[in-house]
């Protein structure tokens, strides 16, 4: 007898794995190439010292006040910004989906164990990726106004107009990124203390391609202070945009007589390290027009607790609601010290 059926059809199987978004690895927090300090609630003071001495001819008499030894210490008050990622979800909408199978029995029970394990679990990687982006690239609306108000120039002691444009185009965030802090900050340890342009060493830049990347890194390297490049206690590092990895590989592996291996590539995959003239390059979500060469400890992230970024509060909303809230709270301040030793390409 022929089958007679009506009522529509549906698939009764599904691919086990739920394909997730690819998140930017929060490598800065994981590998900590820069200094990440924890334990601050609302703020802290940052002290910087500078000692200068002047040699004079031998004095066999009593030592008097000569002014030949200057012991300078400046304090800058730093305030952390606290922000959150939060929302409310209604698990009831998962009824009628594959997730229904993992809901407990009972009409009140609409939380899917499978949904939590396969979808909700990606909230913290997404937060990690967002924070990774924002510590390198982003500026508050107030800082954008301040940077835009600077009169640009080509030489040291001025921001380039291109950098101003880049800051204006950055994501508007709740705290200034490291890059923005290099460009503009209120440190009392600068040559001109207080709010204004940073004391960074500027190397003027152009659009970096695989054809000119070696030359442009050469300018960055040449522009860095000798005392930084020659430092063997705290070795310097180059912080470069993520895209430079591709440009470097393409430049290094160009086929033909023009091939020049300007970058040293060691290892592969997660263990890969790339160096320019012996200086390790750390790839991070910097704006494409910038590169930083400095001693890494001069770049600082202050936090209440680094584990906050992986801490997710998930619970039922009060008063019998069948919804859940999700909340993550973080406190961050990006800061830079010894600014006169930070070389910024494209600044």
């Amino acid at each position: 007898m022929a089958i007679s059926y009506s009522g529509g059809t549906r698939n009764y199987t599904e691919l086990e794995e739920i394909q997730s978004e690819l998140y930017q690895d929060s490598k800065t927090f994981r590998e900590r190439p820069i200094e990440i300090n924890e334990g601050f609630k609302s703020g802290t003071d940052c002290y910087e010292s500078k000692v200068t001495v002047t040699m004079t001819a031998l004095n066999t008499g009593e030592v008097t006040a000569t002014g030949n030894i200057t012991l300078g210490v400046q304090k800058t008050a730093l305030t952390l910004v606290t922000f959150n990622y939060e929302d409310r979800i209604d698990d009831n909408v998962l009824k009628g989906t594959r997730f229904e199978k993992s809901m407990k029995a009972g009409a009140y029970e609409v939380v899917s164990d499978e949904f939590d394990k396969k979808v909700l679990i990606y909230i913290t990687p997404a937060i990690g990726a967002d924070l990774e982006n924002k510590i390198w690239n982003g500026a508050t609306s107030a800082t954008k106004v301040s940077v835009a108000a600077l009169t640009p120039g080509a030489g040291q002691g001025s921001i380039t107009a291109a950098a101003q444009t880049a800051v204006a185009a950055m994501p508007t965030t709740l705290f200034d990124s490291l890059l923005t802090t290099i460009l503009y900050n209120n440190s009392n340890s600068k040559t001109v203390p207080g709010a204004g342009l940073g004391d960074y060493i500027k190397v003027t830049g152009t659009t970096v391609t695989s054809a000119n990347i070696a030359a442009e890194y050469g300018k960055l390297y040449a522009g860095a202070p000798q005392i930084v490049v020659n430092n063997t206690t705290d070795t310097p590092m180059i912080f470069a945009p993520l895209g430079d990895r591709q440009l470097i590989k393409i430049a290094n592996n160009a086929v033909g007589a023009a091939q020049q291996v300007n970058f040293l590539v060691e290892g592969t995959g997660a263990n890969e390290k790339i160096y320019y003239n012996g200086i390790e390059i750390f790839f991070c979500p910097l704006g494409a027009t910038f590169r930083i060469l400095t001693i890494p400890m001069y770049l600082k992230i202050l936090m209440d607790k680094m584990a906050d970024m992986n801490s997710l509060m998930v619970d039922r909303v009060a008063n019998g609601a069948m919804q859940r809230y999700i909340k993550n709270v973080d406190s961050i301040k990006a800061w830079v010290t010894n600014q006169r030793y930070i070389t910024l390409y494209g600044g």
Binding site: Q74, A154, G155, G157, L197, T204
Partner: protein, 103 residues
């Protein structure tokens, strides 16, 4: 007894002296006939005033930015490129953070 300045006051004073020294150098260079746009603390407002406007930048700077002709051309190319951003997004606008305009 004379009050000694605090480290903060000394730092602020040093900053003022630094700014004044730069301003003096800019004025001297301008009087001498060529204000180097790559000089420390020189901003585009001062430079464009010294060279007579954007249209004159190439003539004003050619051969003056570096002894090496290749580097001179590179610097000029950067300057012209960066001034495009200045034209486009940041018309002359003064703030307290900007060095003082030449009188």
């Amino acid at each position: 007894m004379e009050n000694k300045p605090t480290p903060e006051e000394l730092a602020i004073q040093a900053g003022k002296e630094y700014k004044a020294a730069i301003q003096k150098r800019i004025e001297d260079e301008t009087k001498a006939g060529f204000l180097n746009p790559f000089g420390e603390g020189v901003n585009y407002e001062q430079f464009l005033k010294a060279c007579g406007g954007k249209a004159n930048v190439a003539n004003y700077c050619k051969g003056m930015l570096d002894e090496d002709p290749t580097k001179d051309a590179e610097k000029l190319a950067f300057l012209l490129s960066d001034l495009k951003h200045y034209d486009k997004d940041f018309p002359a606008e003064k703030t307290e953070d900007s060095p003082k305009k030449n009188k």
